[in-house]
Subunit: 201 residues, 2 copies
DNA sequence: TGGGTGTTGTAGCGGTTGCTACATTCGAGC
DNA sequence: GCTCGAATGTAGCAACCGCTACAACACCCA
């Protein structure tokens, strides 16, 4: 109430939020604490709590920023040559920088919000909507018929999120990497088949 | 070296591990700390660190236990009447107690291990293997041909994990729940189609 | 009966956490 | 020039963290 939570999105606050987001991308969200973060971005915990109402306010701001960036990155994807290519291109983009970082933060936030803890659960719910819309737009632009885009988006979203959750496993297990590419291929084929069928199923 | 990390899996250690697992299922893994955990299960942090080498040892034990229970639960599923039903039954089982709790802990552990932090990353890698095998067994028993079980398992595993990550969103968004059931249906249809095709794709 | 050995309680260490009280600096408007 | 408010530094609070030193039990074996 006393400190400006959002009223004046002062330049300094915005700048700190950007830097904090970069730091979270590099070091993760789960263990985040104010003093190391402040040290890393060249300020003090005191100043973070001056520009943000509390840690939750800062975290929520960072999460929204990361989501904005990832939605922008998704929107900037060139349209693919068809539904199958759209899935392959999407996975290629999401599994490498910079989008990978953003989605990883989303996964961390989801895990933190699994039991309903705020601000994680709330911001994840917000983010999901815009993310979902951007994903659907990409699929539509790439040839998925409008009336099926929603179904395809749900399938792709779930699959991709699940793959990302186990992404680190591929670093030590070649078999896991192979299975992953097979899943992407099967998913692409499914979306393509769905898009070509006159009626769903 | 001094304290028994694993040599004598004393009854007391085992009992504490079971109780700690129950507590983690109810209160989450991410914020876990020794003193509240000890208080909740009727012992002291001192005793936890007597029976377990350190917090990491305890966490690893809990994660393995949770994974064992979830694999057992998966193995106990009655065989379904076909590949499509197998997916529906699987989702029904995973999205409700007790399996839901175990998978939720797995998701938390994956998030904690996203940046390679131990013991999370290591145990998640272990768990993934046995979990994957159990999932494949269920699909095979339910009519997915052997030579396609691996592909189907990868697809189902990724999808289901992704759906579970966003499960809480359904509690405040009816539209999200609808999309979820659609995804499960599409996934079931995909697995069924995959199982009936003479050659994949 | 005495001495281990395995288990537990008490107390505390050094460090970190989010957050705040207080004092200071600085720059813009009267 | 002076004041006033926004921005920043210093210091510290109370709580918590993982972990450990030390002492006290209880029990079995000699």
């Amino acid at each position: 109430m006393s400190r400006p939570a959002s009223p004046p999105p002062s330049d300094r606050r915005q700048e700190l939020a950007e830097q904090a987001t970069d730091h979270v991308l590099a070091h993760g969200l789960i263990g985040l604490s104010l003093r190391p973060l402040a040290r890393a971005i060249g300020t003090s915990d005191r100043m973070l709590l001056y520009h943000f109402a509390d840690k939750g306010d800062l975290v929520a701001t960072v999460l929204r920023l990361a989501n904005d960036r990832s939605v922008d990155g998704l929107a900037a994807l060139p349209r693919s040559s068809g539904p199958s290519a759209a899935v392959h291109d999407l996975w290629a983009a999401l599994s490498s920088s910079p989008l990978l970082g953003y989605v990883r933060v989303y996964v961390e936030a989801s895990a933190l919000g699994l039991l309903g803890e705020e601000p994680y659960a709330g911001v994840v719910a917000e983010s999901n909507r815009s993310w979902y819309a951007a994903l659907a737009a990409h699929l539509r632009e790439s040839g998925v018929p409008d009336h099926l885009a929603d179904r395809a988006t749900g399938l792709v979203d779930a699959c991709v999120l699940g793959l990302l959750l186990d992404l680190p496993l591929g670093e030590r297990d070649a078999g896991h990497r192979e299975r992953r590419t097979a899943v992407v291929a099967d998913l692409a084929a499914t979306v393509a088949a769905l898009s070509e069928a006159p009626s769903g199923d």
